[in-house]
């Protein structure tokens, strides 16, 4: 399965994942209480420049990841046009664009394995308390492995439905899909147990 990481290496790929996440958290906390429109616009401009500095294509990919936000921005602006308070609308949109694009930038420049390593590191205090944190890695691997399996199964169920009916299958394939998930889970559990358990 494709992750959302940029296919090309940028200078930001070299920074440690934990530092990037910490910087994102600090910056987000600082940005939320800001009210000054010019300051917010300045930060968004800075974010755009940061994308440009990281290399060609980074900004285009970032804009592509922001698709769902565009509709929301239009709703907000429309709402504030009616209530005659455009400044508030722009404030919300500027803040949101900056926060979402910076968070996406961390996702784009960090490998999935590095992210999982940070989560495992964050869980170490729990491990000292006796919780088996190794389970998180196993469960993660299972989700990554089984999501495409279930998607393939859903596609096959939909196609066999179409072979018998002129209508689209829609929700009717959800029940057999759930059965597949349940049966796979039982088999995987038995397989793990047979190999010595967790």
């Amino acid at each position: 399965m494709l992750a959302l990481t940029l296919p090309r290496k940028t200078p930001a790929h070299g920074i440690r994942a934990s530092w990037k996440l910490l910087a994102l958290a600090v910056f987000s906390a600082l940005l939320v209480p800001l009210e000054n429109l010019w300051l917010l616009a300045g930060f968004l401009a800075g974010t755009v420049i940061l994308h440009l500095l990281l290399g060609k294509g980074v900004l285009r990919y970032a804009v592509w990841m922001m698709r769902p936000i565009a509709l929301f921005g239009a709703i907000i602006l429309g709402f504030h046009l009616i209530t005659n308070d455009l400044a508030a609308g722009f404030r919300i949109i500027l803040r949101m664009l900056t926060l979402v694009s910076l968070a996406n930038l961390v996702t784009m420049t960090t490998k999935l394995s590095d992210m999982i390593a940070v989560v495992e590191w964050l869980l170490t205090p729990l491990a000292k308390l006796g919780v088996n944190t190794h389970v998180f890695g196993i469960a993660t691997a299972m989700v990554i492995r089984f999501t495409p399996v279930l998607i393939d199964k859903a596609t096959a169920l939909g196609e066999s439905w179409r072979a018998r009916s002129v209508k689209r299958a829609g929700w009717r394939i959800v029940m057999p899909l759930c059965l597949t998930a349940i049966d796979d889970a039982e088999r995987v559990a038995e397989a793990i147990k047979a190999r010595g358990g967790i």
Binding site: P68, I76, M142, V174, A185, E186, A189
Partner: protein
Amino acid sequence: MERNIAFIALFAALIAALGLLPKFTLLSGIPITAQSLGIMLCGTVLGAKRGAMAVVLFLALVALGLPLLAGGRGGLGVFASPWAGFLFGFPVAAFATGIIVEKYRKGPLNVVAGVAAVIGGIGVLYAIAIPYYMIAADKGLLASTLIMAPFVPGDLIKAIIAGLITGALYKARPAAVLSRS
């Protein structure tokens, strides 16, 4: 232990797979995806604790950068938008749905699960998503509720479907409906 982990992981994968099913459009023109149906099913089939854990696992993978949300979205950015209240509300919704199915054992399962999905997957979910939106987007209660209202009819349909599917699964694999075992 192994069985619990396998069920939690497989249902997290099921939420992801449901999000990628082609969406169907309501008469009102609002597109609905099956992803929140997956959240409801986690509660009705797995029960409160395991259901919530499956949803948390799913969200953790979204945050780590896998494009598993409906429409192929993912990454840390989705948790920064004003709609993120829905994401933070998902585990609570699954937990609430699950606890109702676990505690209320009278009556046919498909009805109980359907009602539980309405209370947990709609009531509890919107009780978190609306205040979150009010703060994040700086809107009043009425405006926020009006913006979200078009999604409720689709959610009601999904709750009914979740109830029917849970009842059918209980007939086909009684031991696998962990909320009742």
